[in-house]
Symmetry: C2
Subunit: 449 residues, 2 copies
């Protein structure tokens, strides 16, 4: 039986980055990655395969950096893990011994078993799999009517991309008052919805699905709770993902109340030498420390870097407790981004906060071509003025501006410090120095303290 | 004689922001602003008047926010200041008494008196004045050949904008090895030069001007040190700016060795109740504390906010010592940005440093339309890993990404912390989470420590 210092189960972003970082930080150690498919996808790029990218082959992400660094990759997924004897068995029946084992098994689509008709042919999912998405792309190409269930990021992005095809009829159903309502406060979520409504997507918010209907075992439509039926050649269920933990559970690892592999701050399970990272593992909210379920490649890779350093001993201290969710997307040419606490989440957790807010243009003067409006909201702890969250709606620059806010949250920056923050501005690139929107939002927060 | 609590001399960004912040933070106090012209300009937008904006009227910035807040504005500049009796005399002969006085008199173009012919008719300057730029725009419209002397930000931006006009012949002369060499290290400055060379601008680097030549008192060309002569209908001298301090010097305020009004960290001169802010005032480098001469609207407005809070007493502590220069510009659709220490400046100041560097694409996958390359360099103190500077070359997102680095510098963030930094990423907006360029540059720095 071949023996490795480290075996990584899974070839997504967290597996790759754990491997690359781990090899660089632990020279001389042997690394094996076991994965399901030879080709991998950029996970967050998947929705764009259905539109602007046009083909699954345009969205490839493979383990090449890991191989280049000296790692070994086998397309032969693990089917059994014996943590006591430190042996992994694969689909082909091979066995490999390990010193350290990393679960990076990712997440799988949640199945709406509560919906009659969920098991009809033509009910599809956005799986993080090259072959699955390749097939689904062909099916959506052939479909005239598509109904997407679930207005989270994936649902919204997939619906908009599909609707860019003139001949396709696309509906999007969200049971909450707004789409993207887990990531944005009411006013930004409302703006995102109004952007969606400017596309060809037919948006149904505040709407429940009663049943997925079909004929001869194949989907023909979606029946809403109000009795209407939307015709559908295919239905894409995008109601969320759940941690892929069957292998870990079978191995006896502790699965927490959210269905994720329980880990500590250094990605360690309670089983010695066994780690879990990325979507399959537990996260804790950065303010309350309560268990939550953040599944983001950006977060996963941050954790994977920490794990890569610390596989054999803790040598890189983690300076920021908890997991910060930083979201961004683009809806009909408007960027929506958020970081950390949002209003409804802060209220639910009984966190006192106030909201600093400012809106202006993202160029100066605003007469320049390409100018967009830019809104920044800061969620601020009133006692010391610390920034605990932020939201942005604007042009493309919002994609990196949210990371200024993300860093501010992670470094406990207060609105008083932001008022003195020395920024770079340029007419073609940012809002004006006199009205730099982030700083004005901080001023607005101070005015309320 | 009318009496004011605060008189502000100058209506540029620092004057306006001192006024707006001062009024909001000191309710009940009376504020007067004395300025030279009724209309003001967005200073950093001036180069774009000569191209994409097309007219000076598209680049207006006035004191409206100050007036809206309750400030009084007079177009009647101060001609004399009596700091002992606390009286300002204006051009019209009026006198006003003050409790607090703020010099926000800005900067004026340096005149190349060392160059024969500098005083010919047709030798022009980029003055921060509505009427002056309005006139200059008309002159450049009429000119067929324009020579710009000085490849700093203003020279480069003005030359590129002028050259966008097909019928115009534009030359740019820089005596250093590269343009923008005060703001960027050699490799980035070289890239900027190669971008300039892709435009119609004829770029002469490593080139000295011997003389500005003319006939009948009007400029006809620029003679280079190597003997060549470039024909010119007008010459734009963009060799820099100097603090506008005559009024302050006449009033007996201390002018420092760089020609700026000497101030402390709270913008106070040594004369009680007299302050100076923005381009006319002294700055100190954030690492060495040595006197330098940063003139940036972004820096000026940060200082102006601090001053607005602290006019009557120090109530908002300044948490970041020194002035951080954060530059950005766009050269032929490539953004160049820097913050803090750059290599040649760090070497000159005998600061030990290493450079972490990474380059990739600014979208993911890189097959998406609109993808640019993105290079990040971090200047890092080797002992503790603190980030003391950074440079970026990339697409438009670099304009806000440089502010992530600027905040990192101001909060003493180390490369070890950046490796654990939780960022937001999105296919259409940023580099991939697995290769977020800023984090990879931090990793590259750590590999050298």
């Amino acid at each position: 039986m071949k023996q490795y210092d480290v075996i990584i189960l899974g070839g997504g972003p967290s597996g790759i980055i754990t491997g690359v970082t781990g090899i660089k930080q632990n020279p001389g150690k042997s690394f094996l990655m076991l994965k399901e498919e030879s080709k991998g996808l950029v996970p967050c790029g998947i929705p764009y395969i259905f539109g602007v990218l046009g083909d699954v082959s345009k969205n490839i992400m493979g383990p090449k950096p890991f191989i280049d660094a000296g790692g070994e990759v086998l397309v032969d997924p693990a089917t059994k893990v014996d943590v006591k004897n430190k042996v992994v068995t694969t689909l082909s029946g091979a066995t490999y011994g390990f010193d350290k084992l990393v679960f990076a098994t990712g997440s799988i689509p949640a199945i709406p078993t509560f919906l009659p008709g969920y098991d009809l042919d033509g009910v599809e999912y956005i799986k993080k799999s090259y072959t699955a998405i390749d097939k689904l792309k062909a099916k959506t190409d052939a479909a005239k009517s598509v109904v997407v269930i679930g207005g989270g990021f994936i649902g919204v992005e997939v619906a908009e991309q599909l609707a860019a095809n003139d001949s396709k009829d696309v509906s999007l159903i969200e049971m909450e008052k707004y789409c993207l309502y887990r990531a944005f406060s009411e006013d930004l979520a409302a703006r995102a919805d109004s952007q969606i409504r400017k596309t060809k997507v037919k948006l149904f918010t505040n709407t429940r699905v009663a049943e997925i209907v079909g004929e001869a075992g194949h989907v023909t439509g979606v029946k809403l709770a109000d009795g209407r039926t939307l015709p559908a050649d295919i239905v894409i269920s995008a109601i969320g993902y759940k941690p892929n933990t069957k292998l870990a559970a079978d191995a006896g690892l502790r699965i927490n109340e959210n269905g994720a592999i329980a880990i500590d701050r250094y990605l360690r399970t309670k089983t010695p030498d066994v780690f879990a990272v990325g979507d399959c593992s537990s996260t804790e909210g950065f303010i309350t420390g309560d268990s939550d379920n953040i599944m983001l490649a950006s977060t996963a890779t941050a954790e994977a870097r920490i794990l890569g350093y610390n596989l054999f001993s803790i040598r890189l201290l983690r300076d920021f407790a908890g997991t910060l969710s930083v979201f961004s997307t683009e809806v009909h040419n408007h960027v929506f981004a958020s970081a950390g606490a949002i209003e409804q989440a802060a209220s639910a957790a009984n966190i006192e906060f106030l909201v600093g807010k400012f809106e202006d243009v993202d160029r100066h003067p605003g007469t320049l071509p390409g100018t967009s409006s830019l809104l920044v909201k800061l969620i601020v702890s009133p006692k010391n003025g610390a920034v605990i969250g932020g939201e942005i709606c604007g042009g493309k620059s919002a994609g990196e501006l949210i990371n200024v806010i993300a860093l501010a949250i992670q470094k406990n920056v207060t609105v008083y410090e932001l008022v003195c923050f020395q920024v770079g501005t340029h007419p073609l690139l940012t809002s004006a120095p006199t009205k730099y929107v982030l700083i004005k939002a901080a001023e607005n927060a101070i005015a309320q303290i």
